[in-house]
Structure formats: C-alpha cells, structure tokens
C-alpha cells in the first residue's frame, strides 16, 4: 500500500480499521469513500486490501466471520483473484448458489481482465509443471532402478567372483549407488539421472521412454527455473516503482485528482435515453448483433453519438472486429476530445493490437479519462460488458520487460531457484551438461546391452538369464513361456525355482506398494504406467506448490492453499492406493498367465 497516493492509503487503512464481523454502516461508508478516492486517481482495484482485512480478522479471531466485510471489499478490489476465489469457496461451504454464480463470474472476470496477473498464472503454471516434473523424475528413476535391480545385482556380482556369496557385496554396492548420492546430499536431478543411467541397459523400450521422459522433464524444469527467476524479479520490481505484480501498474507519479465533480452523461430527450438504455441492455445480455445494429441506428440519428460510438466499439471488440472497434473508439474520442471512457478503450485496443507507440502517446489522456468517468459499480466480470476495458499495463514497461525476458531468461538459467534443488554441488552451468552426459551414458548402456552379455530377469518368475539383445525378447524366461509353472521334474531345480518365484513375487509386491504403479512395469504395461506416473505426480505437484502458497503466509491465499493442500493429499493417497492395487493385480494377472501364481499349479 505504500506506493499509493496518501489520500487513498489513509482511507484504505480507515477501511481496515472499520472492518468488523458484522458489517456496519460506518464500514460501508468508509468503503464508498475509498472507492471515490480511488477513482479520483484512476485506481480500479486495491488488491492488497482484502488481505489486510483478512489478516486483521485472523489476528482478532473472526476469520470465519469475515465473509461480510470481504464481500464489501469487492467494491474496492474487484480485480483481486484471491478475493473472488475465497468468496466462491465460502459460497460453496455456505451453500449459497445465488451468490456462487455471481462470484464465479467475478472470479472469471478478474482472472480474464487483470493483465498483471497473467505472469502470476504463468509462474503458477510453471511452478506446478516443475513440481510435477520433479516428482515424476523421482518416481520414474526409482521405479526403473527397482525394475532393473535384480539383473543389475547379478551383473555386479560378476565382479566379486572370489567371494563365497558374490551377490552380497554386489547388493551392497548397488545399494550404495542408490542411497549414496542421496546421503551425500546431491540434487534431485543428479540422483535421478544417475539412477536412470545405471538402469538403462536393463530396460525395455517402454521403460526407457519413461526414463527419457524424466530426463527431458528435468531439463525443462531447469530452463523453466530461469523464466521463474525472471518473473520473480519482475514481481519484486513492484517495490521499486515499476509496473508488475499484485497491484498492477503503480506509476512513479500519480495524476492530480479532478477538481470538479462527476460529469454526467449527456442526453436530453427521453426517446434517446430509452433507446440508449435498450441498446445497453442488449449489449450486456450478450445480444451483440442486435446491440451493434441499435448503436448504429443511434449514431445515424445523431443521438448520444460519443457514447454510442464507444459502446458500438465495445460490441465490435467483443465480436472480434478489432479494427472497426478501434475506429469507433477514435470516432468517440473525436466526438468528445475532453475525456470519457473512449480514451481508455482506444488505449487498450492499441495495447491489444500491439501498437505500443500509439498506446504510449495517448496513455496520459487515457489515465486522465478514468478519473473523470462516473464511479459506476465496477465488477470485473462486467467490465467487458460495460464501458471500460480495464488493464493497467504500461506499454513501455511491457516492451522493456519482455526484452529482458528474451535476453535474460536462458542466460540466467544457471542461477535459477531450481539449480540447488536439481544440481546441488554442481557449478552453475554444469546442469545441462550433466543431463546430456546422463543421456549419453544411458544411450551407451542401452547400445552396449545389445552386444555385451548381461543378465535379464524374467518379469514373471524372476529367473535370471544372460542375454545380448533387446530385452523384450528375453524378459520372459523359457519355463514361463512354456507355462510349466512349478512343474519342473528335477527336485533341486524345482525347489530353486519355487523359491525364486516366491522371492520375486514378494519383491514385486513390496515395490508396487511402496512405489505405486511399479508393479505394472513387470506386467509389461510400460506406457500406461507412465500415464499413471503423471497422474500420481500431478497432485503431489499441486501439494508442493500449495505448500509454497502456505509458506508465503499471505491472508486469503494461505487460507485457500491449506484447503488445496488437503485436497491434493487426499488425491495423492487415493492414487497411491489405486496404483498399488493396479500394479499388484497386473502382476498377479501376468503370473497367472504364465502359470506361476498361487492359484494354478
């Protein structure tokens, strides 16, 4: 609030002080006064104000009774997405369908119309995608390592032929390969790529696709980190008098408030007023063609010409006739050069069509016109149906910042916030190189496995065989293909096979319970397992991002994120249970097919 004009800031603080669980006339009066002061300076929305009121409510213990005062806040913060979202949630909890639809409209309008929030949505989406990708990479790398573990241990044991039980040092060595990087504190990306590279030679094509997807996603996360870093710096720019972040454009110097009172809409004849009202009603109810015809008739008859031009421009803008809309706004400005909403709207149309120089030229006049406009009720959802196209962006700011984005986005990727998360202990620029080396290592392992004799564990019974070709041809052993089950004739061999089947089943079941969906890999459902992996990691990603929202500790946002986090945990638990069940059943079905399950002998 510090960068708002003193009159607005002081009035806003009075509003916060007047807020109480029961809405009072004093509070409503203070809100109306604030709204008038805001419009004097062309301020459409004070987005920080609902948070201040909510924080006070939380501090004084009437957080759950803040619905009334916060609803009143929609008059002075119509572009606050968290406010509308909070109201929607409360409508659902209070079962108020009449207000629910109205508030959903407000939320949609705020989300659509408040342009500075766009980078916020972008940042949220990037964060969500990044968090989901990180979870997926962790899930995928652990799953493929567990899938390859049996054959990998057998191959490692070839290094310890002098030992009485070579599988013991081999198992320890592999375990160190798994837990070592984690205990050493390496980043998520380092561990995941290392595990994938270890397993690559033992994977089927579908499993390899999962592993490659994980590495590519990690690369995506790394570069997304650069963009998020830049967006973060843009958000931080609010404090230094720039244009982005939650409060939108905060100019370095505010315009003078208008010395005269409100201007009233011209119009002397009842007939003209009635036709104007009807056309406006048609426009607001969405009958755009009818409204356009009525506005054209009013223009032709010479009634309310400036307003009619402006409104026809709005209708045409909504119909997608951008050029015609712009000429209508310009005509409206020509009819009423002293001010009015048409200035603002033509300014916005210039921005929409990226005529940034023309937008910059009329920017001051556009801002001045806001102050002179009548203070009708703003609701973000209605702004496209009304007489203003709100978007407090400054053309120069957009150009400068996007220029920075192009230049600095990838350059700064090495310094992004995800670097420590992914590549801890690696120097800044080594992350991408490490990913490339990991990919090359995995590819080399894959190619070598076609020439070098390596172990392959039967997916069904766990029997180890040595193969030097694609895994798909040898991942079911001959005994399973022949469906002999346990019916080997030789006594000792039969006992070994039975024990093998038993241990393998126990291992796969443990894997699928601890790492849900992994059992499906043994069942050969590689791509479906990958889809499940994404589905499972999505709520975990939501959880991570919502915990970030909670950590930010901002009133309404934190309050809502706690609910999102709860829902994400519930979804993740359900998906975990579902994935474990699916993997278990898939593996059982596989064993039944090859006659090594309990049910058939």
């Amino acid at each position: 609030m510090a960068r708002y004009p003193v009159a607005v800031r002081e009035q806003a603080l009075r509003v916060v002080e007047a807020a109480s669980p029961v809405p009072t006339e004093t509070f409503a009066l203070e809100v109306r006064t604030l709204r008038k002061r805001m419009f004097d300076y062309g301020i459409l929305s004070l987005n920080a104000l609902p948070d201040l009121v909510f924080d006070r409510a939380a501090k004084e213990g009437w957080k759950r009774k803040a619905y009334g005062p916060l609803r009143e806040m929609t008059r002075v913060a119509p572009l606050s997405v968290p406010l509308w979202a909070w109201l929607v949630r409360e409508d659902v909890l209070r079962f108020a369908p009449d207000r629910f639809f109205s508030d959903v409209g407000g939320l949609a309008g705020a989300a659509r119309e408040f342009a500075p929030a766009l980078p916020g949505y972008a940042a949220w989406l990037l964060m969500l995608a990044s968090a989901t990708a990180c979870w997926f990479a962790a899930w995928a790398s652990i799953v493929v390592l567990l899938r390859a573990r049996t054959a990998l241990t057998a191959d490692l044991s070839r290094m310890f032929r002098g030992f009485r039980y070579p599988e013991i040092p081999a198992a320890l060595l592999l375990w160190c390969g798994f837990a070592g990087p984690v205990l050493f504190g390496a980043g998520l990306g380092v561990c995941a790529v290392f595990w994938i590279a270890l397993s690559a030679g033992y994977l089927r094509r579908g499993e390899l696709a999962i592993a490659v997807a994980a590495i590519l996603l990690l690369a995506g996360v790394f570069f997304a980190g650069g963009v998020i870093d830049l967006l973060g710096r843009l958000a931080g720019g609010t404090q230094s008098g720039e244009w982005f972040a939650a409060e939108g454009y905060l100019p370095g110097q505010w315009p003078e408030p208008p010395s005269t009172g409100q201007s009233s809409r011209p119009g002397t004849q009842w007939d003209g007023m009635i036709r104007f009202s009807r056309a406006r009603a048609e426009m607001q109810s969405g009958n755009l063609q009818v409204a356009e015809r009525m506005w054209s008739e009013l223009i032709r008859d010479g009634r309310e010409v400036a307003g009619a031009y402006n409104n026809r421009g709005l209708v045409r803008a909504r119909l997608g006739k951008t050029e015609e809309a712009l000429s209508d706004f310009e005509a409206a400005v020509g009819q009423n050069p002293s001010g009015g909403p048409a200035h603002w709207n033509s300014y916005q149309m210039y921005l929409v069509t990226f005529r940034l120089e023309q937008a910059a030229r009329i920017q001051s006049a556009a801002w001045a016109s806001i102050g002179k406009s009548p203070p009708f009720d703003f609701r973000a959802e209605e702004m496209t149906h009304g007489e203003l196209v709100p978007s407090p962006l400054r053309a120069e700011g957009i150009r400068e910042k996007f220029g920075l984005l192009r230049e600095g986005g990838f350059r700064n990727a090495g310094e992004n916030p995800f670097r420590a998360l992914l590549f801890r202990f690696l120097p800044g620029g080594w992350g991408p190189a490490f990913l490339v080396v990991g990919c090359l290592w995995a590819g080399a392992g894959r190619l070598l496995s076609r020439k070098v004799w390596l172990h392959s564990a039967c997916r069904s019974c766990g029997t180890l065989t040595m193969v030097a070709r694609t895994r798909e041809t040898a991942d079911i052993c001959n005994s399973c293909r022949a469906q002999v089950g346990r019916g080997l004739r030789g006594g000792e061999e039969r006992e070994r096979r039975i024990l093998n089947i038993h241990l393998h089943r126990r291992y796969v079941r443990a894997c699928t319970v601890l790492i849900p969906g992994s059992g499906a890999l043994w069942a050969g459902k590689d791509l479906r397992a990958m889809v499940y992996g994404f589905a499972f990691c999505a709520p975990l990603g939501v959880l991570t991002v919502s915990l970030g929202g909670l950590a930010a500790g901002r009133g309404l946002l934190s309050d809502m994120q706690s609910m999102v986090a709860g829902a994400a945990i519930a979804c993740a638990v359900l998906l975990w249970a579902g994935g474990a069940w699916w993997g278990w059943r898939s593996f059982e079905a596989l064993q039944l097919r090859y006659n090594v399950a309990e049910e058939r002998t």
């Binding site: 500075p116 998020i228 973060g232 972040a245 000792e492 070994r496």
Partner: protein
Amino acid sequence: MQGKISDFSIPEIFQLVSSQGKSGSLAISGNDRITIFLFSDGRIVDVQPDRREPRSLLGTMLRDAGHLTDSELKRFLDAQGGGGGKKIGELLVEKGKISREVLARFLTLQVKECLFEVLTLKDGEYRFEGFAVRPPPWGGEPLRPDVLMMEGMQFLDEYPMYRGKLPPGPFRVSRHKGEKVDVKALSPEEGAVWKALEFSDDPDRVFRKACLTGFEGAKGLSLLLERGLVDAGTVTREGDDTALRLRRELSVRRGIDAGNAFLWAVGLAIAAAWLYRSLLSPSAAGIFSEWTKFF
C-alpha cells in the same frame, strides 16, 4: 489290554487285534518313541508316529517326495493349528495340493514305515484301548495287519542282505551315464526307483519320490546296482550331501533376500526423507512460492 513286548511279541499283538476284529488304538512304546496305530474292525486305518521322529511324519514325507516345499509345509502346518483340528493330509487334499490317491499311497507308506520300525523293537510296552473308530473319508482302504506282518517279516529277514549290497553309511546314487532301460523289464521296485532317480541323488528322497519303504527302496536299488544301471558312492564330506547343501543354499538365499529387503527398505526411507526435504519441506516451499507475489 497292556503289557511288555518281551512277554507278548508285536506280531502276536497285531494278529490278536486283527483276528478279533477290534476297533481302537494300539500304542507301542520303545526306544523313547511312542507309535499309535488306529484299528477299525481289526484293520489298520491310520497311524500317529512319534512327533520326535519327523521323517515318519506325513508332511515331511510329502516334502521329501517333492509334493510340498519347505515354505508350503510350514504354511500348512500353521493353517493346521487354526484349522479346527484337521489333519494335514485332509488339509492338503482340500486345498488341492495333492490328490486323494497320492494321500492314500503316502498314508499306506507311513503305516508300513511305522510298522517296520516297531518290528525292530526288542524291548518296550504296548497298550490297546478299545473304542469305535471310523475310517477317515480322506484316507485309503484299511490295511490288513496280517498282510503287513508278512511284509514286515520279509523286511526283517531280507533288509540286512539288500542294505549290505549298498555302500555303508550315507551314500549317493545316480543313473549310470548313457544307460537306456526298458522299465517294463524291471521289477516294480526297480522301476519305481529308476524313475525316481531323476528326482534326486539322495536315496532317502528317491525312495520317498517312488513312494517305497526303506526296505522296498533298498531292495530295488541294490538290484539296479547289481545290473550295473546305477552308480552309488559314499558321502565323504558334508558338502557332498546334496539335500543338506540345497537346504543351506535355499536358506542362504532367503537370508540374502531378507537382508536385501531390509537394505532397500532403509534406502527407500532415506529417499522418502530426501524427497520430503527436496519438495515438501519449508525450504522447498520457499522455492515454489514465487507465484504468490503476483496475487
């Protein structure tokens, strides 16, 4: 009816119970072992070997014959505890692990083994208690004691001779390499032993697989040895005992697997803590909170 074996020999006791068509239990104790035979109308319907002699227990016999694994046997014995007093043979047939025919053959084998065992007793006691005994539905045909006694007498007479033809002490047998045999030309005991030789080289397990008593097995094996169809060698080292070696090997594998399971459980717990620290802890949440600055 009770008394000492030295006063009233075992064949005489069996003959008495059989000729009078008695029903009840005949407990014979000696050499610190008690074996109980159940009679129904003078015929043997079941036997309860001494628990301290696991070789004669039905589950062990079926395991040695390859019809059950160690773990399955353990599971069925556990299930037997909570199975309302059902006998293991009944449980195995119910669960479809073995057929009624196999069970009947092994019950007969068990009765024979126990009877031959008690025939060797020189000193001990017997006790007969009369009560109604209904033959179990899952058992085979009741056995005539007089027929078994004749086999038993033959065992007492001939077993030392056949055993003497085999290597002394523990030994291993295997088919002579390259021998082609027409099984129909062999005696029933020889044929059964010959077929079972592909199952194991441990003679006890071979006899179990062939469902023969030790006496029948020794007879068949010695005849095969005389024909030069099999090779027999003495076990000189403990490691040559393949059965023991197999048990140890399986036990070691189980142990290694359990250790592996423990290691990987610890590893996954470490990974879970690491994932929490990376993606859910307050420090990670700080990284993922940039977006809130825009709202």
